[in-house]
């Protein structure tokens, strides 16, 4: 429900609501814009993909996979579990570090 104070304040502020002329403000902002860091993610991605392709071409993939499985089966189960338990901890730490960035949204 609109009170008398509401009406008074609405009318007061609507009478004192100026539009501010730009007067070169936008230009000043645009001149002060810092350079963003160049996007280099694609370079890493390209070299990773290239590395994978070369590996697949040069190495007998089946043999590598079977050796990995043999190696994994040889590890005591509690070592493996310990390793898996690290995943959520590392993920949490990475997320915390990411969240420390100035979150404006």
């Amino acid at each position: 429900m609109e009170t008398n104070d509401d009406k008074l304040l609405k009318s007061f502020f609507s009478q004192n609501k100026p539009e501010i002329a730009d007067n070169g403000f936008t230009q000043k902002v645009m001149l002060r814009l810092p350079e963003k860091e160049p996007k280099t993610g694609w370079i890493i991605l390209m070299f990773t993909a290239l590395g994978c392709l070369v590996t697949f071409a040069l190495v007998d993939v089946r043999e590598v996979i079977s050796e990995i499985f043999t190696f994994l089966l040889g590890i005591p189960i509690y070592y493996l579990l310990g390793g898996f338990m690290l995943i959520p901890i590392v993920t949490m730490l990475v997320m915390l570090a990411y969240k420390r960035e100035y979150n404006l949204a």
Binding site: T3, N4, D5, D6, K7, L8, L9, K10, S11, F12, F13, N16, K17, P18, E19, I20, A21, D22, F25, T26, K28, V29, M30, R32, L33, P34, K36, E101, Y102, N103, L104, A105
Partner: protein, 174 residues
């Protein structure tokens, strides 16, 4: 929203230029009122606001309106500058209000606004300005100021009563 997408995807400076042109007036007006008419300081804060917006535009999730997001940056920028001035630990709002009310440069006819706003606490000032000057809803104000909806309503109610009383004494609304 198209302009925002152009800036996010293609880092399009022309699109950002248009965004600044579009939003400079309300953001600068909001900051001028928060700084009690200190146009130099408010313009510096407004520039900083837009630079922060440019640098962090990828963190804009589009959940709220772009203007709401900008007001939030502007409000944070203003509050950060207040904290820097006074130090983080001994932030005494009442003292701060006195000290931070810098001389009015904006225009003589705005004196009544600033005199009325000076009666309010900083958070009440911001809530009242966003509600009545910038036509933001309570929910949007809650997002901008990052405080619960109930606190926004309380701030507006208290601010409204104080300002209403002052304005009637000054002969408004008769």
């Amino acid at each position: 929203m198209l302009l925002v997408s152009q800036v996010v995807i293609a880092d399009d400076h022309r699109a950002f230029d248009r965004l600044v042109q579009k939003y400079q007036s309300p953001i600068r007006r909001f900051l001028i009122n928060l700084t009690m008419g200190d146009t130099m300081l408010s313009d510096d804060l407004a520039q900083e606001t837009f630079i922060k917006a440019y640098l962090n535009i990828r963190s804009f999730q589009g959940i709220s309106a772009f203007s709401t997001w900008l007001y939030r940056i502007a409000y944070n920028t203003f509050y950060d500058s207040v904290r820097v001035k006074r130090g983080y630990d001994d932030l005494n709002i009442a003292e701060l209000d006195k000290k931070y009310s810098t001389e009015t440069e904006y225009s003589a006819e705005k004196n009544d606004i600033f005199a009325a706003l000076k009666l309010l606490r900083k958070d009440e000032q911001a809530a009242i300005l966003l509600c009545y000057m910038e036509d933001k809803t309570h929910r949007e104000i809650s997002k901008i100021m990052n405080i619960p909806l109930g606190t926004v309503k309380t701030n507006i109610l208290k601010g409204k009563e104080k300002m209403g009383k002052f304005l009637r004494q000054e002969g408004y609304g008769n």
